[in-house]
Subunit: 161 residues, 2 copies
Amino acid sequence: MKGKRTNLDASACAIARSLGVIGDWWSLLIIRDALAGKRRFGEFQKSLGMAKNILSVRLQKLVEHGILATAPASDGTAYKEYVLTPKGKKLYLVLAALWQWGEEFCFAPGELTYDMVDRETQKPFQPLELKARDGRVLGPGDMRTLPRRASKAQRRASSSR
Amino acid sequence: MKGKRTNLDASACAIARSLGVIGDWWSLLIIRDALAGKRRFGEFQKSLGMAKNILSVRLQKLVEHGILATAPASDGTAYKEYVLTPKGKKLYLVLAALWQWGEEFCFAPGELTYDMVDRETQKPFQPLELKARDGRVLGPGDMRTLPRRASKAQRRASSSR
């Protein structure tokens, strides 16, 4: 893998590819704001304090990658709204993992003045857990990558070249 | 929040702060490689194809942020090794979430040639789930941030200013 970020989104590694598709850190913050209900360019711009041309480019890339979709403003005005697609919404797990890690490691006692909570009960979530198929809770040392066996069709295609 | 990334690591938002502390996308890939057992500068450099000076700066920042620690080479040679701290290892949940999202949304059928598996059984994990305290599985629409109530000490300090 070479040094340019643009190659990440063709990576064989699903982590690297995700990062290439999401684009950059600010895109994750746009997605965070979209999950919190922001839809208008102006809302994102005010929240993130980003230069308008840069925000515009990032929003467009998120649309191109199928993470956001554009829709006419719900109030009938001429504004464009940006809404998360199912693909975009599914990043909520990445955001929850980042929140929980940040909460545990990146704040002095008393410094974090927000909780991330469940809408219904207003209480924080359980800590995310990585589990094996049999239910065992796994730790960082338990992760491995394993090449998939080529399918029969792939093996046939390879041998006929 | 202004446009410069350097302000993220003082953010009030735990997601933004995590992103500021981790630093950039490539840092997550360094952490991925460290979790996979890489320890030497040369191993990271070969895996990521990064320019040596850039890799050096990123490794140093991860050490400064307490994500990596340096140790003498385990074989007694003069090399330096980079090892994940508990703080760094805990990012495995963020990496697992990125993997699962990438696997679901960023590959054409048959294109992903690796699984991420549990070391013991060689089988993929269960999908990560975000759960409320009472066990309900939550979706992206269930996440809210809620300001924490100021502690008595904080309220006393505020009123005496």
